[in-house]
Subunit: 216 residues, 2 copies
DNA sequence: CGGTATATATACCCCTGAGTAACCTGACGC
DNA sequence: GCGTCAGGTTACTCAGGGGTATATATACCG
């Protein structure tokens, strides 16, 4: 038994911040496992190793708890992607690094992704709004990339009009591929990211002509 | 008051098939509105204009009811897309007509789409499996299209390897764009379908070069 | 060493909603 | 007319689980 485990077992009284983290971690796990409604606060408390009134005392109601899970995981995801992007390189390389960061996050935090993507949208307006905001954020980032690249080549209005829709499609494709990944786990984040680059940067037409996109 | 309305009001006793349809319609509406768990059988019975025991007598438990909703709507969607595709034209045109049929269906059956896409996946394995099967069906159709087009141009193994992933991404993009549409309703199915064609058939790179895909 | 605030647990309340028992009623065959 | 069966309802049971009142233990401060 390591010293830290001894520590954890002996000193039962822990500072609030630690307990809150434990509870949120447990909540994400449980919500990912069952979904919001079937998940019981009893199970959360059990997984967290803490009694139920603690949860209510620290994090509030079940809705509050869920909301804080979503917010925390959304921020983590944003942070992971944001730090993965190098804003000083070409548009396609920015997309590439962003995608790799995204799939890297999903690989490391499956439960977070499940809660964000599959559960939060289904529960109610309030929670869906959080995820929609996250998605809008992603779409906006991609839109900027596409529009600036398009207008750099002199396609002002055309790019403005369809840029957001195209970006929504790309972001959706990335999310869908993350889900699909759960059924095909023997692939690396890089492979997924490169498929998306090939599909959306080059398109089927170029692909069937034998063209392939690769990082420069 | 028309005669049929009189009919509907007076003759309270209706054949089983009619009631079952009323109940399923109501269930889809209610499940789309609240999601599976918060939806109550009482509300379904109220919307259906039928008392609760009828539902249990005709369609079984809440789970049974939900499952039958999913199955019915999934079959409707498949049918709508399948009949929308002309298998005798070029690959890109098949994709184009299929996408238009898909968005046409979503436009006409918003509640069906919500239940299938946002709710069914979140409730549990059993239901997710139904939707996954539906999605796999779609992915398979696209994969065939892509692989046959790719191998026609002599790209056998490469297309085989990544074809399914690329198709999953395309199908996911189509689904995501359908969701995005709910927030931007003033667009036609054709516009959405053409964005997807431009993005996935041509790709960003061709687009920013000024190329555009259009139906032949 | 008391006293107080904080950390934590036990045991309970009570509402919501799935599922059902028991009962009604009109139509149709004989 | 009258049994009988499908169509239909009202009014109930009962478990699960969100949320809390109450009690207890431990650290820290003077």
């Amino acid at each position: 038994m390591t010293e830290s485990e001894q520590q954890a077992e002996k000193s039962k009284r822990l500072p609030r911040a630690v307990r809150e983290k434990q509870i949120l971690d447990a909540a994400v796990t449980v919500f990912a496992r069952h979904g919001y409604h079937p998940a019981s606060m009893d199970e959360v408390s059990e997984v967290a190793g803490v009694s139920k009134p603690m949860i209510y005392s620290y994090l509030g109601s079940k809705e509050d708890l869920f909301l804080q899970c979503i917010r925390r995981e959304a921020n983590r995801l944003i942070e992971a992607v944001r730090t993965g992007i190098d804003v000083d390189v070409a548009a396609d390389m920015q997309l590439w690094t962003g995608l790799r960061a995204f799939y890297g996050f999903v690989a490391e935090h499956r439960a977070s992704w499940t809660v964000l993507h599959q559960q939060a949208l289904a529960v109610g307006e309030k929670f869906a709004a959080e995820v929609t905001a996250l998605r809008s954020h992603a779409i906006e980032m991609v839109t900027k990339l596409v529009v600036s690249e398009g207008s750099r080549k002199g396609l002002g209005e055309q790019a403005e009009f369809s840029g957001e829709g195209l970006s929504a499609a790309l972001v959706g494709a990335a999310e869908a591929l993350a889900d699909w990944w759960l059924d095909h786990p023997d692939l690396s984040p890089g492979v997924l990211a490169s498929w998306l680059m090939n599909l959306t940067w080059l398109g089927f037409n170029d692909l069937v002509q034998g063209q392939v996109w690769r990082p420069s």
